[in-house]
Amino acid sequence: MAAASGIALQAPQRDPAWLGRVFWCGAALVLLWPLAVATEFRPWLLFDERSLQVSGQFLRSFWPPAHDADFLMMVLRESWRTVAIATAGLSLALLIAVPATLVSTRVLSLSALSGRMAGGPFWLRQAVRWALIVLRSVPELVWALVFVRVVGLGPTAGVLAIALTYGGMLGKVYGEILESGEAHATETLLRNGASRLQAFCYGLLPQNAAELTSYTVYRWECAIRSSVVLGFVGAGGLGQQLDGSMKLFNGGEVLSMLLVFVLLVALADRISAGLRRSLG
């Protein structure tokens, strides 16, 4: 009896959970294997002699970063174009988002005041919502690819791509913001005979203006980021120049442009954070 309890109190000789651990490690390998096959995951290719030579050469060409006056002027001009594409795209996105929000917000429905919303308005709202979801679901890069085909290379494609994707995003989120707030003031206005636009301007908008502006500023920051990426499919701005320099293996130019891009994004981040803080 005493011996038995002595054995029971002894620390186990080996890991009591070994079976489970071995099983889960095996299961992870079995699960990871098809992923590695599908992604052609062959890390040793990176250390292949020819690949090492090419990437080594490319990396060496990074220093010194390109800094002659002509190049810097070009980078400055293209950075402005990047910001301009984002700003113009977002302004057009607002042209899509604001009317869509006004049409699709439930709170502004007259028939919903007395119980259920009528069939027609309900389906109209639903249709607008679905349209916004479709606009938002197509990545902006794909919109840009399509528009580059239609309007040719240049900033027009980038502006349109940002306008459509961000129009969908802003429309959806504006709707959510407006519906999550207190609806009492708006309802009272509507019940007392205010028009829907009046109810929106005097009831819904003052309540949510800060949040709406803050989200729009945040999206502007995102638009700057994505307008650089859009340049890679030929939609103008810093991205297009970056793509060109990468294809020419011009490491110095790539490094300068990456640095400028990071600074630009950091600056936009600062401005947007400051604005949002002052909105409260």
Partner: protein, 276 residues
């Protein structure tokens, strides 16, 4: 004490003037309008070309060419393989990024008050640099080393996501309740074990939710990474669009939309389920 003189009615006040030099919102609005005008003015947008009748016709023709989408079994199976490739890229990229992010988050966080954390600033600098460069740019750079194909895309996703997750993980570690770790440290337990037995168990749910959130983002990103040649649905899209196979392009676009919508719906459902 003399009572404050008060009017029977509140004194009548004029509304504030529409513009005054001290009104910050006015200056802000003015700057905004200027920025928008300057943007439209400086970009040579080809509205005339875009909105002209000929352009609208060519646009209509372009959209018309999308129909009918190519739904032959051979092509559909090709799209299915590319979709699987996209999912695999995002999953493996996120997994690699979780491991690398955790490794970089350790030096990037101050785990207790007397921790000198000398590596904190440089590690955070590395994480910020990884995070600041978008996936697509990473893919463009990594294609040079890893060659065309999904491997470069996987690495690009992993590198960018390492930056994002590393920073989030470091924040989570610094915000974990210090009590359990302090108790172990007072007993003389070494740093690594303190982390494994006190800090890590606390933050695992948070790490998991960050990772799942990034995976969701990465699926969306992986779908388009291919346009620079980094595998997945995007590469198929860029290829067929380049050759003007519009029917096939329409099928791929449909698959992309379905993928994104499915991910959105799943994550929405999961969030509803978890926060109920």
């Amino acid at each position: 004490m003399k009572p404050m003189p008060s009017a029977a009615n509140a004194p009548y006040r004029l509304p504030p003037p529409l513009f005054s030099l001290r009104c910050r919102a006015c200056w802000f609005t003015l700057a905004l309008v200027l920025l928008v005008v300057a943007s439209f003015w400086s970009l040579d947008l080809q509205w005339s070309q875009f909105l002209s009748l000929a352009a609208l016709q060519s646009m209509g023709r372009f959209v018309g060419e999308f129909f009918p989408p190519d739904t032959s079994v051979a092509f559909l199976s090709k799209v299915a393989v590319a979709t699987w490739e996209t999912l695999a890229m995002s999953a493996l990229g996120t997994l690699l990024a979780t491991a690398a992010g955790l490794l970089l988050a350790l030096p990037a966080s101050r785990l207790h008050a007397s921790d000198a954390a000398r590596a904190r600033t440089p590690a955070r600098l590395v994480l910020n640099a990884l995070r600041a460069v978008p996936e697509l740019v990473w893919a463009g750079l990594l294609i040079i080393a890893a060659g065309l194909g999904p491997f470069a895309g996987t690495l690009a996703l992993a590198v960018h996501t390492t930056g994002v997750l590393g920073r989030l993980f470091a924040e989570a570690m610094e915000n974990a309740a210090p009590g359990p770790a302090a108790a172990l440290r007072a007993q003389g337990v070494a740093g690594g074990r303190v982390f494994l037995y006190a800090t890590l168990p606390q933050i695992v749910p948070q790490l998991l939710s960050y990772t799942l959130y990034r995976w969701e983002n990465n699926i969306r990103a992986a779908a388009v990474l291919g346009v620079v040649g980094a595998g997945g649905l995007g590469q198929l899209l860029a290829f067929h669009m380049g050759l003007f196979h519009m029917g096939k392009t329409a099928t791929i676009l449909g698959a992309m939309l379905l993928l994104v919508a499915a991910v959105d719906a799943l994550s929405y459902g999961a969030r509803r389920l978890l926060t109920r």
